[in-house]
């Protein structure tokens, strides 16, 4: 059997590795099991503080349209079905099915018990220190279907 060689450059492929959802879920479950539920919340807050700091600044300066643009981009990339109702004071997201939950379910990954916190805690923390607040109006644990609301305080 001759030697086989594969060469790729970054531009040859789109960056979309959905198995990372399974790895994220594995991490959330580990945190809960090892350090307790409060560790999941504390970690996700830290993540939001670190990663979303530019987005938080845009939310402060530009308001909800900045968040709508970010959210739309994420769901387009992930192939998720999302409806966004937006005005100056309120943004409601209706997500038919969470793309992450869908991928994990289809590929046999365990969905972490506290998976919903990757939405609730992260978005609540993102809004802290801004003129806006977040509430999770509906969430279906089986599919990740949700209705999410960002609103001016």
């Amino acid at each position: 059997m001759p030697k086989e060689v594969m060469r790729r450059q970054a531009a040859d492929n789109e960056y979309l590795h959905k198995d990372f959802h399974g790895a994220m879920s594995c991490g959330i479950q580990y945190l809960q099991g090892t350090y307790g539920p409060e560790a999941v919340i504390e970690y996700l807050r830290r993540f939001s503080d670190a990663y979303h700091s530019p987005l938080k600044q845009k939310l402060i300066e530009q308001g909800l349209p900045a968040l709508a643009e970010y959210t739309r981009g994420i769901y387009e990339l992930e192939g998720g079905d999302i409806e966004i109702d937006l005005d100056d004071d309120e943004m409601v997201l209706r997500i038919a099915e969470c793309p992450a939950v869908k991928h994990m379910t289809e590929h046999g990954y365990r969905v972490a018990d506290m998976w919903v916190e990757t939405t609730r805690t992260v978005n609540e923390r993102l809004c802290e220190g801004t003129p806006f607040a977040f509430e999770l109006l509906e969430y279906d644990e089986r599919t990740g279907r949700s209705v999410q609301r960002f609103y001016r305080r």
Partner: protein, 147 residues
């Protein structure tokens, strides 16, 4: 939902959080946990196909991660090599101006894969001397006693 395109910063932050709770040992314990609990697909492929299982596993992951790499499989020589020219994960972390990556972010790769492959009769040699340029090398070889 945290998008899969945001996973690497989340992963890096998780390592930092675990270190704050349990020191470096707390991070390594997690790496061992994900190796044992999340890499079943690599384990199954290598159990079924030997070194070719490595080829199949990384053909999938490295393409989806849009890595810049060269990969070689030489079954006669009993060797599989990944030359990572630009690791997408390390590169992404290095480009984030507002976040400080976990200092030993790349350390997880060695532990995760070694822990799967060595019990299956392979040795793993990693060269992390150029990770400051997001470059590294992984060589997987049949252990001499297995040839």
């Amino acid at each position: 939902m945290i998008s899969c395109t945001e996973f690497i910063p989340a992963y890096s932050e998780l390592f930092g959080y675990l270190e704050s709770r349990g020191g470096k040992q707390g991070v390594v314990a997690y790496w061992e946990y994900i190796s044992d609990n999340f890499l079943g697909n690599l384990r199954e492929l290598v159990e079924a196909h030997g070194l070719r299982g490595c080829w199949e596993y990384w053909s999938h992951t490295l393409n989806e991660e849009a890595a810049d790499f060269a990969m070689e499989l030489d079954e006669e020589a009993g060797e599989f090599i990944i030359e990572m020219h630009a690791c997408p994960s390390k590169g992404l972390l290095d480009r984030l101006e507002h976040m400080k990556p976990y200092a030993d972010y790349c350390g997880h790769c060695d532990i995760l894969y070694r822990r799967v492959l060595e019990p299956l009769g392979f040795e793993c040699l990693t060269d992390m001397s150029r990770i400051d340029q997001a470059r590294c090398q992984l060589v997987v070889r049949l252990k001499p006693s297995q040839e």
